[in-house]
Assembly symmetry: C2
Homo-oligomer: 192 residues x 2
């Protein structure tokens, strides 16, 4: 997606060869016009999947997921929450996610009321790297018995293997921008 | 706002006289059509304020803030983040917020890059009770030197004093629904 690629080139900050900061438009400050265009792309890519619910994870996926939902007949958005309490209530699905950024695991939860076995669930998220969050969300969909129709990702780090492994399993993973490499001079090389 | 009130009556769960759960449409699952209508209301209420930036706090305020931004010429949305690291980087504004729900304090941060002294900042959030989060966000706006033009809140707990105290200071605080009282039978009494 040219618009997103241009924005990354213009405003993205390469912290090191693995970390790209896009705080100015995607995960701290939000460029709602850009989000709208991203939502358009996702809704086209998954328009034939009869999506009934969109699943994401707090916080950065929420804005994107809502845009896509609006373009898909206002289907409900559900965002997985980080479980702060330590206790797991009976009425939730839960799974553990390892954060490579913060170097620790945390549990996410989704209420059983908001995912049903007759749902066709589309996952939307801002980043895909090693796939920990995405695999966690897929695990939650499996627990609910719903149908996972695919995932729409804004930026994939193609030099990490999360996307590759999931595509090998036959899942439709659509990343609008795939980064092949970032170098120590701050250059970003794109795959698509 | 009748639409929101009707939704609260239909789907809100009164946990006790102080806690109302609106997980099915506002802070776990999101009803994007309702959010759109809420956004319309806020944009009308603050249309004369020359808003240049919308500030909210992760996670539940994000979806609402984005809708309002879209209706206000796509002004940027900034969401304050909970500081998980314990360290405070130099390039952020920070303040401490006390969560009565979780009975503890936490720090929020906003990058200095995304709030400027010539900004007119509108705060959007889902709930207002004792006003801890809202006061924290106002404090961050003050630190940046920007102009706080007002706050749009979806649901205010009118039986707690956050809104009252802020209005006494002359701030424009617009709550679409104000709850006067909730009783042990699950009844909700509205003020507006």
């Amino acid at each position: 997606m040219k618009l997103l690629k241009d924005k990354i080139i213009l405003e993205g900050v390469v912290v090191n060869s693995e970390i790209l900061k896009v705080s100015s438009f995607l995960n701290h400050q939000l460029d709602v016009k850009l989000l709208d265009a991203i939502g358009d792309e996702f809704s086209k890519l998954f328009c034939k999947k009869n999506v009934t619910r969109i699943l994401t994870i707090e916080s950065s996926g929420i804005a994107l997921a809502c845009v896509v939902a609006r373009k898909m007949n206002n289907v409900p958005v559900v965002f997985a929450k980080k479980n702060k309490s330590g206790n797991v209530p009976e009425d939730v699905y839960t799974t553990s996610i390892y954060s490579f950024t913060h170097n620790k695991s945390y549990d996410i939860i989704v209420s059983k009321n908001f995912l049903h076995k007759d749902d066709n669930v589309l996952i939307i998220d801002d980043f895909l790297a090693k796939g920990s969050a995405l695999n966690g969300l897929i695990d939650i969909i499996k627990q609910s018995g719903a149908n996972f129709v695919g995932a729409g990702i804004a930026i994939e780090k193609g030099f990490q293997d999360g996307g590759k492994k999931l595509r090998e399993q036959g899942f439709q993973i659509e990343s609008l921008v795939i980064i092949e490499k970032m170098d120590c001079c701050g250059n970003i090389f794109f795959k698509n």
